[in-house]
Amino acid sequence: MFGRKNEQDQARLEQGLEKTRTSLFGKLSRLVRGKATVDDAVLDELEEVLVSSDIGVKTTVTIIRHIQERVAKDRYLNTKELHALIRDEIARLLHQRPRATAGNSFESTPHVILVVGVNGVGKTTTVGKLAHRYRQAGCSVVIGAADTFRAAAIEQLEIWARRAGASLIKQRHGSDPASVAFDTVQSALARSTDVVIIDTAGRLHTRTNLMDELAKIKRVIDRQLKGAPHEVLLVLDASIGQNAVHQAAQFTRSVDVTGLVITKLDGTAKGGIIIGISNDLEIPVQYIGVGERVEDLQVFDAQRFVAALSI
């Protein structure tokens, strides 16, 4: 569905990941400079490079172990080969997870998407950009403003809906979010809208009552439309550290997350988080945000990501 803009997307992706690329592979080049073989000192520094890119301790240890095994097997590993080896490792880690499928096409309408996450990760912005994407692809879109908690969240979404050309279903600030979700799905059913995107309030995954509220929203949607929501997207800020795993686990427990959206990947060297997350979590990365423009929310493609990371 989103195929047409492939080349543009690739260019933006490469641009957005530039810092990650130069940081990760640039450091790698520096650390092997003047050295012929991969020894313990190189591995030690490699650990630093990987951890500093937010790849995560567990994944880093895995990668290092694989390289150590290679060294042990071949008795010798040229530093020149290290580059390729690490790229292969990253590709392997990214590919072992199921590819994101939903979002590219859907069988029935309305296709309902629930967007969840902790505070400040960019949920509302993601909803706006997603709406734009589907509108560009020729779908009719209705957005549900179920973040009834944060001050001015509804106003923010109104602006996004207007920009994207989507309709918006809202109630008053402080009203029951499940009821907003209900209204949104009702409206989509009545007007046979193609895509429903429901924004929810940011909540820390440790707040039991708020997580229960989310589960209720999901139940209400399912009751009106069997099998909905078809997608539950967990939005994660790329600058997040090791807490991502906790968040994914807790949100999955309440609402069965189907895909991840990694936002704010542009600008800084934070692309490593995707590699760590792909290794640690069972949930595929669905979209990545590589810039502030509306078009900068892209469908995640592991192959392209690796390519953009190692040009």
Binding site: K19, E48, V51, S52, S53, D54, V57, V118, N119, G120, V121, G122, F149, R150, A151, A152, A153, E155, Q156, E158, I159, W160, H173, L204, H205, T206, R207, T208, D237, S239, I240, G241, Q242, N243, V245, H246, A249, K264, D266, G267, T268, A269, K270, I273
Partner: protein, 456 residues
């Protein structure tokens, strides 16, 4: 998922039992694990490395106290070092001698700046000041509305700029300077400038915030950072500091379960104090930063050494001795239990206590802790509804006395029974704990604390 550092330290040092000293060989192995644990808590790699090197130097040759095992000694060294690195006592806002005091709030997108501004306004108001909020986030859709809503909640005015059509005028430095002038005119003694979130690599936006600084001349610049931030926290903080030379750091979203290693990283790289900790969605949930609490959090739960230290400080040695004597003579009564519970409360509540005790921490899910905190009031009410004689000699509390106590406390008879039942088990455990020696006694104490919580 993440092993806690304390358990790692103690595990690594188990094999050392019988050795009275931390030496070069046995510490090298452990430091690798400590470093890994710190990384898992999101401490920056380089910070973690220099930290473990320092710990190594400190620990080498340290005589291990007879009362604690080497692992615990190391925990204590690590803990002390963490507290030191995280900074001494928390520092408040530096107020200008010529009002208004101008506070500039900056940070990345989504770090919680606007919410923090609302919280800070409330905090300052409660200190008797008259704040004014300046809406200098002129870019994010509805950011001004968000600030207005928060401001209305705490009843603080907002200064914002809009054109004739009501659209926001995108000139942040102008908003800031005009807000300061407006504050001077309207006798508001503090101006809090809420700025747009920006990436530290965005040159244009960083220039804008530098311009705001130059023109509004803040006496206090606060850098707001999400406690869940990973390895990049250091780069962000460094860049913001280079541009703004900020005065302090605000840690947000501390009510989650992130270990918050970023705090340590930022502190050690930019050498600026962490001034506030934001811990919830209510506007009242803002606290001065406590390095000791943060250190415990980074370490993970189960800091038995500091628990013992704290317990000693609070109870006082004489009192502790008196209590021990009572337990030995089986004279521990309900009044003593109430005193103990109050001590626990004073030490930061049961939840805080549970965090310091490994076994208790395991038993108590985060979810039930809130309930348990509430429970203290009940137990207190029940014991306070008893006569002095009943408190001293619980065995005389019969059916009719139970009914009277329940009525007095506004609770049910079964609640009274509950308190009496846990009192008996606590007494039993205490007695057992007294018979144990050394480490065993600490474990016994831990078990006792656990029981105290259960009866909540």
């Amino acid at each position: 998922m993440f092993d806690n550092l304390t358990a790692k330290l103690e595990g690594a040092f188990k094999r050392l039992s019988g050795q009275g000293r931390i030496n070069e060989v046995n510490i090298a192995q452990t430091m690798g694990e400590v470093r890994r644990a710190l990384l898992e808590a999101d401490v920056n790699y380089q910070v973690a490395r220099s930290f473990t090197n320092r710990i190594k130097d400190k620990a080498l040759g340290t005589e291990v106290l007879r009362s604690v095992v080497p692992g615990q000694m190391l925990v204590k060294i690590v803990y002390d070092e963490l507290v030191m690195l995280l900074g001494g006592a928390s520092k408040g806002i530096k107020h200008s001698t010529r009002p208004p005091t101008v506070i500039l709030v900056a940070g990345l997108q989504g770090s919680g700046k606007t919410t923090f501004c609302g919280k800070l306004a409330l905090h300052l108001k409660q200190e008797g000041r008259a704040p004014l909020l300046a809406a200098a986030d002129v870019y994010r859709p509805a950011a001004v509305d968000q600030l207005r809503t928060l401001a209305a909640e705490v009843d603080v005015p907002v200064y914002a700029l809009a054109d004739d059509t009501g659209a926001v005028i995108q000139d942040a430095p102008r908003v800031a300077t005009e807000a300061v002038a407006a504050a001077r005119k309207n006798a508001r003694d503090v101006v809090i400038i809420d700025t747009a979130g920006r990436l530290h690599v965005d040159a244009t936006m960083m220039a804008e915030v530098a311009d705001i600084k130059q023109r509004a001349k803040p006496s206090e610049i606060l850098f707001v950072v999400d406690s869940m931030t990973g390895q990049d926290a250091v780069n962000t903080a460094r860049e913001f500091n280079n541009k703004l030379n900020f005065d302090g750091v605000v840690l947000t979203k501390l009510d989650g379960d992130a270990r918050g290693g970023a705090a340590l990283s930022i502190r050690s790289v930019v050498k600026k104090p962490i001034k506030f900790a934001s811990t919830g969605e209510k506007l009242s949930q803002l606290m001065p930063f406590h390095p000791d609490r943060m250190a415990r959090r980074i370490l993970g739960m189960g800091d038995v050494v500091s628990l013992v230290e704290k317990a000693q400080q609070q109870v006082g040695k004489d009192q502790a001795a008196a209590l021990r004597k009572k337990i030995r003579k089986e004279q521990f009564n309900l009044q003593d239990m109430l005193d103990q519970l109050r001590q626990v409360e004073r030490m930061g509540g049961v939840a805080e206590m549970a965090k310091m005790l490994p076994q208790a921490g395991q038993l108590l899910g985060d979810a039930v802790q809130g309930e348990k905190e509430k429970g203290f009031g009940r137990t207190e009410a029940i014991i306070l509804s008893m006569t002095h004689e009943e408190r001293a000699r619980p065995q005389i509390i019969n059916g009719s006395r139970r009914r009277r106590i329940a009525r007095g406390a506004g609770l049910q008879v079964r609640d009274v029974n509950e308190v009496l039942r846990s009192f008996r088990s606590i007494r039993l455990v205490m007695k057992r704990a007294m018979k144990m020696k050394g480490r065993g006694r600490q474990m016994g104490m831990a078990q006792m604390m656990q029981l105290m919580q259960r009866q909540h």
